[in-house]
Amino acid sequence: MNRLVWFFSVGAVGLALATLTSAHSPSDQHVKIELISEQDGIVPHGKIWVGIRFDLQDGWHTYWVNPGDSGEAPRIEWELPEGFAAGAIQWPYPERLSTPPFADFGYEHQVLLIAAVQPPPGIKDEKSQRIAARVHYLVCRDVCIPGQKQLELTLPVKSLAVAGSNVQLFEATRRRLPQPAPESWKISAASLGDEFVLNLIIGRSAGAPQFFPLEEEQIENAAPQTANTIPGGFRLHLKKSRHLMKPLSRLRGVLVVGSGKAYRVDVPVSQSSSNVHTQS
C-alpha cells in the first residue's frame, strides 16, 4: 500500500515537473530576455525608446544583424496598441566571435536592442498602454538553441515622463551605435583581385580599424583584415567572399576604430585602384 502511494506521488511530481519545464524553452537557462523602456511613461506627441535586453550566460552569444558564418539574428515582432508604430531596431556594433575556420558577428554577456515607438497623435493620458513583442532568437556556445519569447510592458500615458532606472543602459547602448562618418574623413573602396581595399583617411587611432559588413556573403568573414598605415590613415584589406558572383557596386558596413567607436560606411566600389570614389 505504502509503495503504491509512493509510486503515485513520484508520478505526480514527475508530471508536475514536466509541465513546469515545458512552459520554458531549453534556452531559458542560457539567456534572460526582457522588454524594458527608457522612460516611465508615454508622453502624447513624444516617442518612447524601448529595448529588448539579452542577458547571456558566460560562454553563450547571440547575433548581430549580419550573423556572419553561422547563426541567425534575433527577430522582433511588435504587438502595439492601435495607431502606435515601432521604428527599426538599432543594432550596436558587434564583437567578432572567432572559432577558426569561422567568424561570427554577435554579442556576449549583455546586449540591448533598442527601437523608438511613436504613439498616435491625440492619445489620451488616462489609459495605460500595452507594448508587447514576440522575440525569435538563437543562442549558441559550441551548440545552438533556438528560442521564442513573448514579452510585454504596460506604460501609463502622462504629460511628463521621467527617465527610469534603465536610462544608463540605453545611454551605453547609444554609444555603441554606428554614427555617420565625420565630415573630414575620406573613405573609398576598390576591388583589386580577390580583395576589397578600403582606403580610410580617418587620421591616426590607437589600434587597427575593423570592418563589419552589413550584408552577407560579400567578404570572407574569418579572413584576417590586414590594416596598413598610409598617410592620413589606414588601408584595410578585405578578402572577397568566394560566393560573390558579380562585381559589387557598394560596400556597406560598420567601421570600428581603436577607440571603440563605430561609424557607418556606405561607399561605391571602384573596379580599379586608379579611379577611386570617395565618401565625404
Binding site: 553561422s70 541567425e72 572559432t99 575556420p101 525569435h136 533556438p146 570572407e220 560566393h243
Partner: protein
C-alpha cells in the same frame, strides 16, 4: 640548422597559404575526395562522373538540420532526386566528442529511424572533406554537375530559420538548381549564405 628551420617554416607557411587560398568557386572542378560511408564502403567523387552529385553537411543535433529532418523535407528531397539518378551524399564532419558525431552504427540507426535515404552517409570525423569544401554550416549544400564542376554552394533554401513552417514558403535552392541544370539552363541562384549551425570540426 637555423637555416633549415627557416626553410621549414617557409614551406609550412606556403602550404598553409596554398590550402587557404584554395577555395573552389562556382564553375570550378569540384575537389576530389575519398571517404568511407556508414556501411564501411569507400566512395570517390570521381566514380560518379556523368551524374549529378549533392553533398549535404549534417549534424543530427543541430536545430537547423532537425528542422529539415523532423519535417521530412530532407528525406523527401533525397528520395525525389536519387530516384532521378542523382547521387546524394550526407556528410558528417563533427569531430569525436562534438555535437553530431556518430559511429557507423549510430548513423545507420538514425537513417532507419528517420527514413533517410541518401545514396550514402559519409563519415568524416577528421573534417577532411569538410575543410576541402570549406563547409561552414549544417545543412550546407553543394551540387556538382555531370562534368564534375561545382554548380551550387550555399543554403538548402531561402529562409534561414529553425521554424518548420517556413519550409513551405521558402525557395528550395537545391531543387531549383538541379531542375535548371538538368534542363540545360543556367542556375538562377548558384550561391547563397549557407545558414545553420557551424560545422563542429576538431579544434
Amino acid at each position: 640548422m637555423k637555416q633549415n628551420l627557416w626553410c621549414g617554416l617557409f614551406v609550412a607557411l606556403l602550404l598553409i597559404y596554398s590550402i587557404s587560398a584554395y577555395a573552389q568557386k562556382i564553375g570550378d572542378p569540384a575537389p576530389e575526395f575519398q571517404a568511407t560511408d556508414s556501411n564501411g564502403q569507400t566512395h570517390r567523387l570521381s566514380e560518379h562522373r556523368g551524374k549529378f552529385v549533392v553533398l549535404e553537411w549534417h549534424n543530427n543535433g543541430c536545430p537547423y538540420t532537425r528542422k529539415h529532418y523532423e519535417s521530412g523535407n530532407m528525406q523527401r528531397l533525397q528520395k525525389e532526386w536519387t530516384a532521378l539518378g542523382v547521387i546524394w551524399f550526407t556528410v558528417i564532419s563533427s569531430a569525436p566528442g562534438q555535437q553530431g558525431y556518430v559511429t557507423a552504427q549510430q548513423e545507420n540507426d538514425y537513417l532507419k529511424q528517420m527514413n533517410g535515404s541518401p545514396t550514402a552517409a559519409l563519415l568524416d570525423p577528421q573534417g577532411v572533406v569538410g575543410r576541402l569544401y570549406s563547409a561552414k554550416t549544417t545543412p550546407h549544400m553543394f551540387i556538382i554537375n555531370s562534368a564534375g564542376l561545382l554548380i551550387y554552394d550555399g543554403a538548402i533554401d531561402s529562409k534561414a530559420t529553425t521554424d518548420k513552417a517556413d519550409i513551405a514558403t521558402a525557395t528550395n535552392y537545391v531543387s531549383q538548381a538541379l531542375e535548371e541544370a538538368m534542363a540545360g539552363k543556367p542556375v538562377t541562384t548558384p550561391t547563397s549564405r549557407p545558414y545553420g549551425c557551424s560545422v563542429k570540426y576538431a579544434h
